[in-house]
């Protein structure tokens, strides 16, 4: 028994030491101010743009950047509302255009000075919508493997062909941003009534509705379906990492919806000046290049794509963002979507 207790002590001691050593090597006895940045896990991961931004910013700021995974945007917003200053968020990244209304309910944001930023023409339309600022974007489309098709679909109706029955995976619009984008895009294109009529038929073509983009894309990657709704920048991932040119995003005659990712500085920030400088780095050409290459999304400023693999992406037609539905309207539309699914 005595030996066993020593054994237990050694195991826990070893594990504890490993964790403590790792923590000490991470922070040491650092007394610099800490800039707390909330962002999505893919942004702050080892292979995301976060580590580069952190390193570049820490070289000049006399501060330490600490990333926090913001988890789900709804939870993050509620957290910002409830915690206020005690939460310590200085910069928040990772909302899409449909979060903007909720983001302005009960949360104050600092007005940012963006005069010096040379925004891409197509991004300018969303700049006026809120005090939050877009930092990357992409159009969305159906992503396919060229080798699976003799003739590539060119419009939405082409997806209704019998050979694609059970070969399309879509994201659930209640739980996934691309899924919601598709639904609202459809309504924008066809009007609500006709969009739901189309959807009733389109749903019969589906393999399934996945709860998240990653699950849907996983099914596509595992070749269990021929197409999924994703970003037009997704093929770049396969080009860079898999050296494959087989995956492409379809060019649709109807145009393509866009997803913009926003960030901002809450008024309750502790290191507000540093936070604004960090966002400036995010919007700088260097920062944008890293975000583009690591996040596989388009930059929001001009002069970054040139000379990179992103320049080879065809110029897809963007469906202009007209009206963003209010939260209550969105809830109504999603209830209608759920009712449609219920009846199938």
């Amino acid at each position: 028994m005595k030996n066993f207790l020593i054994f237990l002590l050694l195991i826990f001691g070893g594990l504890f030491s490993a964790i403590v050593l790792k923590k000490n090597s991470d922070s040491g006895k650092d007394t610099r101010p800490v800039l707390k940045v909330f962002a999505a896990s893919s942004f702050i991961s080892q292979w995301g743009p976060g580590p580069w931004l952190k390193e570049a910013f820490e070289k000049t700021c006399e501060c330490r950047v600490e990333f926090q995974d913001g988890a789900d945007s709804t939870i993050l917003l509620q957290r910002l509302k409830s915690e206020g200053r005690t939460g310590g968020a200085d910069v928040v990244l990772g909302f899409d255009q449909y979060d903007l209304e909720l983001a302005q309910q009960g949360i104050e944001w600092r007005k940012l000075s963006l005069e010096d930023v040379d925004f891409d023409e197509r991004v300018r339309s969303v700049l006026v919508r809120s005090p939050l600022v877009p930092y990357d974007w992409s159009l969305l489309s159906f992503v396919v493997r060229k080798s699976d098709f003799s003739v590539l679909p060119k419009k939405l109706d082409d997806l209704m062909k019998p050979e694609l029955r059970g070969q399309i995976v879509m994201e659930d619009p209640r739980t996934s941003s691309p899924g919601l984008q598709f639904l609202l895009w459809l309504i924008q294109l066809k009007g609500e009534e006709k969009a739901f009529q189309f959807l009733a038929a389109f749903n019969q073509q589906l393999h399934s509705y996945a709860p998240s983009w990653s699950t849907a894309y996983g099914l596509f990657q595992k070749a269990q379906v021929k197409t999924t709704f994703s970003y037009v920048t997704s093929p770049v991932y396969h080009l860079v990492e898999d050296k494959s040119t087989d995956v492409i995003a379809l060019e649709m005659a109807e145009g393509h919806p866009a997803q913009f990712e926003f960030g901002g500085v809450p008024a309750t920030c502790r290191n507000c000046e540093l936070a604004e400088r960090f966002l400036a780095l995010v919007l700088s050409k260097e920062g944008q290049k890293v975000i583009m290459e690591k996040n596989y999304m388009f930059p929001v400023v001009n002069g970054v794509q040139e000379g990179t693999v992103f320049a080879s992406i065809p110029k897809y037609k963007m469906t202009e963002l007209s009206v963003i539905p209010s939260v209550s309207d969105r809830e109504r539309i999603l209830k209608k979507w759920a009712a449609l699914r219920r009846g199938e």
Partner: protein, 490 residues
């Protein structure tokens, strides 16, 4: 205050603490959309009912296959115990993993309630098989032997003995029903929008409209329903591991084929998909290093959750037999993960080491009542007579606990603690909210999946399973040494 009341108060506070925090932040919504609630309730009930019935029949077939394996002496020597563990594997693995296997096997996959039921059956059939095995071995062994001598067929035997096992079968059925009723990720993934259950509705309220008050009200309603279900006065013997001696007569070759497919299909699929994943793990710069750095914390977290659950279960044993405590824990359902995670953000500090402690505590909370219902409750109730006799003979609570209860509880305790560890190793939903960074291997896997790198995520899942095995060895080691120490003492 007596020890029992003290324990009851402790568990009451422990089990209601997230609700307490949430109530201090949000007011309960009193006006709910009744048709929507009814629809979700109907779906929850229907899918849970069909899943339980399906798991029951699939479990029975697997069991007959198991008995067939047990009869072959060549296999019996080395295969039965690993088979028992493999039967439980689908219950441990992340639902997404099971779903990917099913999606490649079942084309087209039937989303909606049929899909949810299919995944639930796949996940629970093995568990049911083991529960039925224990039941038959403990209650019917002499009868099976007698029926065999009289020349009865196995289906005739099952028909005749059904009446004797009615209450036990219903208790097992209820256990699976509650598991499926409260399931979240399976209806979310396999439901495809057609099977909105209560758990999904709670999530939707938070995700779509930020209606936290409504989500909390729905959570309370769900808890009341489970409380009602748990008050059904049926008792059964639920024991996962029992005798290794084969029973005569009961067997099925078809069942044996199903058993092997069920047990080895997952492993084979996993290995066949892993190679490309490992290549990617080493190809992505810094990924392997990051995974290695996360191993100590992941292991520590898994062991801590296992230890916490074991500690809580031992507390219930200290107070046993206590009917009111049993009712409280059996009827308790944790709030949905989003609500739980959110409540933890407002509990103590969000700095290290508190945040790690909160995650372990929160996760132990989430799985505690399920694991309590997973045979521990019946194990305790089975010891009731011994405790009463010891009480009559004047034994102290301490003596009863150390000399009577502990030696008999160490095996199930090690088993449940191991399961808790494995579940903890795979958690990313709560960890994502509470930790705010890729602090463990499961969180890293989740991040990989949301950034195109599914093969690497797949491969690292294998590492999680290896760590799960280490946790098993750890808790079984503790149980073994403690048993020996107790035997020496006695």
């Amino acid at each position: 205050m007596s020890t029992r009341w003290g324990l009851f108060a402790f568990f009451l506070i422990f089990l209601f603490f997230p609700y307490g925090i949430l109530l201090s932040k949000f007011s309960l919504a009193l006006q709910l959309d009744v048709p929507e609630l009814w629809w979700a309730f109907k779906n929850s009930t229907l899918q849970a009912l069909m899943s339980s019935v399906g798991s029951f029949f699939a479990g029975l077939f697997l069991l007959l296959g198991f008995f067939q394996v047990q009869r072959a002496s060549f296999y019996r020597l080395w295969m039965t115990r690993p088979l028992e563990v493999l039967l439980l594997l689908p219950n441990f693995l992340p639902p997404l993993f099971i779903l990917l296997v099913l999606l490649s096997l079942v084309q087209p996959f039937p989303t909606g309630i049929p899909g949810v039921v299919l995944v639930h059956i796949m996940m629970n059939a093995g568990l049911v098989a083991l529960l039925l095995k224990s039941l038959i071995e403990n209650k019917l062994r002499p009868l099976v032997e007698a029926a065999y001598m009289e020349g009865s067929g196995q289906w005739r035997f099952f028909q005749a003995s059904f009446g004797m096992l009615r209450r036990d079968l219903f208790a097992i059925f209820l256990f699976v029903f509650i598991l499926c009723f409260c399931s979240f990720s399976v209806p979310l993934i396999a439901g495809g929008g057609k099977a909105t259950t209560l758990e999904i509705l709670i999530y939707e309220k938070i995700r779509i409209s930020g209606a936290w008050g409504e989500a909390l009200s729905l959570s309370f309603i769900q808890m009341l329903l489970i409380l009602l279900l748990s008050s059904v006065p049926f008792q059964a013997r639920k024991n996962l591991f029992s005798s290794q001696n084969p029973l005569p007569m009961l067997k099925s070759r078809v069942g044996m084929v199903l058993l092997f497919l069920y047990c080895f299909g997952l492993i084979f699929y996993f290995l066949s998909q892993s190679l490309k994943g490992w290549l990617q793990v080493f190809a992505v710069q810094g990924l392997w290093q990051a995974a290695l750095e996360l191993l100590p914390f992941s292991l520590m977290f898994g062991l801590s959750v296992g230890g916490l659950v074991a500690f809580l279960l031992l507390l219930t044993a200290w107070g046993a037999p206590d009917e009111k405590l049993h009712r409280l824990i059996s009827g308790m359902v944790s709030p949905s993960t989003a609500l739980m995670g959110f409540s933890l953000l407002f509990f103590i500090s969000n700095e290290s080491p508190w945040v790690e402690i909160k995650w372990a505590l929160g996760f132990a909370y989430l799985i505690f009542s399920t694991l309590y219902r997973w045979g521990w409750d019946q194990k305790l109730s089975g010891l009731r007579d011994q405790i009463q006799v010891a009480n009559l003979l004047g034994a102290s609570r301490h003596l009863i606990f150390t000399d009577i209860l502990l030696p008999q509880l160490l095996n199930p305790l090690a088993w449940i603690a191991s399961v808790a560890s494995l579940w903890a190793l795979g958690d990313f939903a709560l960890g994502k909210i509470v930790m705010g960074r890729d602090a463990s291997l499961s969180l890293l896997i989740e991040t990989l999946m949301s950034s195109y790198r599914l093969p690497a995520a797949h491969a690292l899942m294998g590492l999680l399973l290896v760590m799960g095995c280490l946790c098993f060895l750890f808790f079984w080691g503790i149980a073994y040494v403690s048993r020996r120490a107790l035997a020496e003492k006695i």
